[in-house]
Amino acid sequence: MSTQKNTSSNRSFRPRRGPGGHGPGAPMGTGEKAKNFKGTMKALLSQLGAYKIAVFLVILFAIGSAAFSIIGPKVLGNATTEIFNGLMGKLSGGAGIDFAKIGTILLTLIGLYVLSSLLSFLQGYIMSGVTQRLCFKLRKNISEKLNRLPMKYFDTRTNGEILSRTTNDIDTLGQSMNQSMTQMITSITTIIGVLIMMLSISPLMTLIAIVMLPISAFLVSIIVKHSQKYFQAQQEYLGHVNGQVEEVYAGQNIVKAFNNEENVIENFDTYNNILYKSAWKSQFLSGLMMPLMTFVGNLGYVAVAILGGALAINGTITVGNIQSFIQYVRNFTQPVQQVAQIANMLQSTAAAAERVFEFLNEEEEEQTVANPVSPEGLNGSVEFDHVRFGYNPDKIIIKDFSAKVRPGQKIAIVGPTGAGKTTMVKLLMRFYDVNSGAIRVDGHDIRDFNREDLRSMFGMVLQDTWLFHGSLMENIRYGNLNATDEEVIAAAKAAHIHHFIKTQPGGYSMELNEEANNVSQGQKQLLTIARAILADPKILILDEATSSVDTRTEVLIQKAMDALMEGRTSFIIAHRLSTIRDADLILVMKDGDIVEQGSHKDLLAKNGFYASLYNSQFEQAG
């Protein structure tokens, strides 16, 4: 975007995530936790309610796919048994291996595998659809929400913060939900299926296998506890180190100008070292999980084998059954491990979802009123009637302001930096409501208008020239989306930008780039003026530029502004003395409040704050 302000606010640093939502080295989750896990999950599930049938199918297919993959090994076992029997038969003069039978078994097996894969694919296919549609909907909701939130909301948050909800959070939500849903169903089905199979073979041996679970859970919890500690430390110091990098790079020439390189490096090294320690420890600890779990798994395997052997000697169990049982033991531990991972993934799903829902549940400003005043045929007179306002109710800045502005008058708002000159604009546009008193347009309280109607009466030309990635024509037409090309060109001529546009490659269809920096600051001002002319508002709000653009464009801007103000009520945040002196009314602001008002002559005669402000520019220094 074009303005200075955005670039700084969007720089707020947020580590990019890996393609899977998590860095591959951080299987323990991102350490993020939802404040209200249950509530968020409920809300998320109710969102999923719209896709009931699809979700039902996903569950069905996942169960089917898992079930078939449980049966698979058993059928394969049949094939090997058949081969073995055939071999024995052959030795005893029989027909040898019955390839027809093995063929049938293997064909069944292929059928099972194909079916299992097919179901698994269908399940993934449908689930992707559900999550993507949900993400689409949430993003859409966010974009619509943006337009209904009061401006107040945006004062306390950076653009980067809000931006990361539409992209990062929803992305994480989609990714982790897709994975965790599928894996959870598959894992649970596998666990149940395997459990049934094991119980049907030997309840006693099943018991032994299950005993391994609390041991695993215990080990996992110990590791998670420790690694989480280092993981958080790592995140913290990563933040410190990144912060330092950001700060030092941004002020690199200052660091150099003040010969402070050594200090800065020393500082950086300290943090970098702490980061190193926590990084390898967290990495190491989370890496312990797999070998330990494998070991516990093998421990269980041996325990089952020993018990199985004993049972086989007693003759209570056949050798074949032990073999399949042992197969199932191996299939048992894996989904159990997965469940632990899924629990983590669900946490980050919830954390992301929570932020999204939080945003969507923010209080909105009401858009319409019961009996709205029509903006048609109004003249543009403005009255401030004992206006009292503060951004916080306990910190009133405009205490009691009254003024009457006739249609077509020019009002200059002046004051030192930070005096709150834009407050007046925000009140007029009803970005904020007055605490008491009223602002009236043609005698109607602005709160009696629908917001959209009220704002349609105003035109704005701000110092932050807001242009977007698109053609010049589109950017000007933004003032009135229904304007014809001819009307756009007429507005451009009135704003003295037509000639410039004609000299550009592509003329009116020339594209502004993403940063909108392929035209100069001065041209941008002219474009926004053209846009305001096209909008043809009753009341104008102008913010004069403080920095000087090149002198020739400056003259054009002056002319264009004059053309724009012709016949409209104008509020000008003024920096040029010529503008100020020509104004019908000057509002002098200091510390948020309007301290003086009147014409240039009146105010100079008063010899108050305005006079000292004015004179300070012409006094000799020292």
């Binding site: 975007m1 640093f13 580590p15 860095g23 090997t80 081969i83 030795l91 003069g93 040898g96 093995i102 097996l109 595998y113 097919l118 992707s128 999550t131 993507q132 689409f136 993003r139 974009s143 619509e144 337009n147 401006m151 653009n159 931006l163 992209t167 989609g174 912060g243 700060e247 030092v248 941004a250 690199q252 020439n253 150099k256 003040f258 200090n263 490096i265 190491f284 070998p291 494998t294 395997y301 041996v302 084998a305 004993a310 000697i313 050798v319 073999q323 042992i326 546009m429 807001w466 920095s547 000087s548 002198t551 400056e554 003395l577 010529s578 002196r581 402000l613 520019q617 000799q620 020292g622």
Partner: protein, 737 residues
Amino acid sequence: MLKLAKYLKKSLGAILAIFVLLVVQAFCDLSLPSYTSDIVNVGIQQGGVQDAAPDVISKASMDSLFLFMREEDAKTVQQNYVLHENPQELGEIHGAAFQIPVYIPAQNFDREAVEPILGKAMLLSSLFGEGSAETAALQEQMTGALQLPEGMNPSQALAMMDDSARQAMLETIYENLDAAPESLITQSAVVYVKNEYASLGIDTNAMQTQYILLSGAKMLGVTLLSMASTIVTCLLAARVAASFGRDLRGRVFRKVLSFSNTEMDRFSTASLITRSTNDIQQIQLLMVMLLRILLYAPIIGIGGIFKVFRTNSSMAWIIAVAFAAILTIVLVLFGVAMPRFKKMQKLIDKLNLVTREILTGLPVIRAFGTHKHEEERFDDANTALTKTNLFVNRTMALMMPVMMLVMNLISVLIVWNGAHGIDAGTMQVGDMMAFIQYTMQIIMAFLMITMFSIMLPRASVSAHRIHEVLETQPSIHDPQQPAAFDESKKGVVEFRHVSFRYPDGEENILTDIDFTALPGQTTAIIGSTGSGKSTLVNLIPRFFDVTEGEILVDGRDIRSVSQRELRDRIGYVPQKGVLFSGTIETNLKYGDKDISDADMERAADIAQAAGFISEKEDGYQSEISQGGTNVSGGQRQRLSIARAIAGNPEIYIFDDSFSALDYQTDRALRAALKEKTGGSTVIIVAQRISTISHADQIIVLDEGKVAGIGTHQELLKTCEVYRQIGLSQMSEEELGA
């Protein structure tokens, strides 16, 4: 990626150790299946009897077995077994003591040689002995072939024959027997051995339990070894990767600090930040995976192939088929998905752009009532992204099931082929099972490498970006023998026909600038945006080097003195008030920790900052957040001015530092500066005529050239550009005032 390898040098030992440990791990992982199958096959199925070579056998049984051996075979057995006529001298074997003469394995016992001989003899003995139901047919077949006298059983017949006759007969039998599957021989031999043990009084049940325990212990031992090596690998890999990340971070950081503005501009600050943070983090994460997984995959893959060829190479072609199938699938899937993948990033950027435009333009959107239009714009971007996302996700959803299917089909293929091999007697059931296991391991290794190669491009972009920074040589460095300043010309800044252009620029930013700024005087520089004002003052502390001409400070070309000494003489105040996290004090004493409190307070006073600092609860100890965002823009600027003053420099450079201040503060500050630092050289870049109208000399820049030098009054008369700038800010009479 390889470009960064040289920074790994000091971890070479650790990497080597990791390699060795991975070999150990691969060895464990490859041999573990045979241990696990031992428990089931030998321990449970064969009752703990490993094979046909018994640990003890009675003399009577051995003698009858000799009858079924060919001559040379019998000799081999006799070499390997020792007869004990007095078994009491022997200790207990398998928990039993013996009363009758027994054979036990000799000292240098060759199990490999003896096992098949005994196995066949045992098979024959049991075939011709009691004659189980299963073997009746075979027995009949053989009896027929030998044309024995009616009513005589083959054992008796063999025992009665003389040696040469028996040998001849055995030759015939063995011809048939050699084709018999090994598993059958083993099975019958195991039963034979078990019975033999039982008849010798050994508790076979106890023996079986013991065997299971023993092989269980072995298996756990192997797992333990595997676990230990995995843990140590993990430890080493984590340390190597983390220290690699740390070193890279440190190097890049130092490098960036050594950059001049030319390099900073070339890379852009934002990009350098990403390179130092995200990119290095990426590489660090990749490093762990590389050491633990990518290095492991080929080891286990090669190990697996080796095992396969040792077991039975006749089905090796199946592995090739598996390779080809998986490679095709991966290539096809990625061929389809990759273009969309790339497009996806663009669409995400597009969505971000639209969102950001909405966020920054909210006032405008609301003023023009165009939110419907914006929602549509967002919807378009959202729809496009969702569609692509959906396609990519669905393609990827295909991946896992297809891979699983391929793996499963491969195992079916192995079973089908294996069955034929077994039928033809070229393969055993156990071999086939092992083959499936090894094939899966090889395929997994291959999959890992494929998956890794997908991640690699992303990481290699990061690596390249880091490498680029590290390889960049700063364009500005100290001379080998720095000259000393000329004390007689203290504070004099001289520009001698200076021109400047960016290294890759086409046009000069500054052309033929020539002036001298003297101590005790204020030199002001004014001009419209883009006229080169900032660039001009940034040349003085050598943030850039001139392209032509020279700049002299204290009578010396600034390229001939050390940067440190040069900058010590300069108090630089940038356009934007840049502060660092810490306190107000640490910021004001930024140039030198040893600045006295009195100097610091004096500086704050001159910079008109003392007032708001004293209003703060913690005064000079007040916290400053990163970038100084917790103080207002004007305060930030005043602190950054105070920071320059605190160092008591000879030369002040104010790069448009006053425009964030209101007129009154601007004026008070300039007055105080003049009063308190009268002897210094002051160079001010400004936008506002009022800020500079009192300067001793004003340099007017227009498109990088000097349009005029003089005082305010002189320039009003002589310089049209200056008049234009003035008129855009004030009226005619105010200018003249």
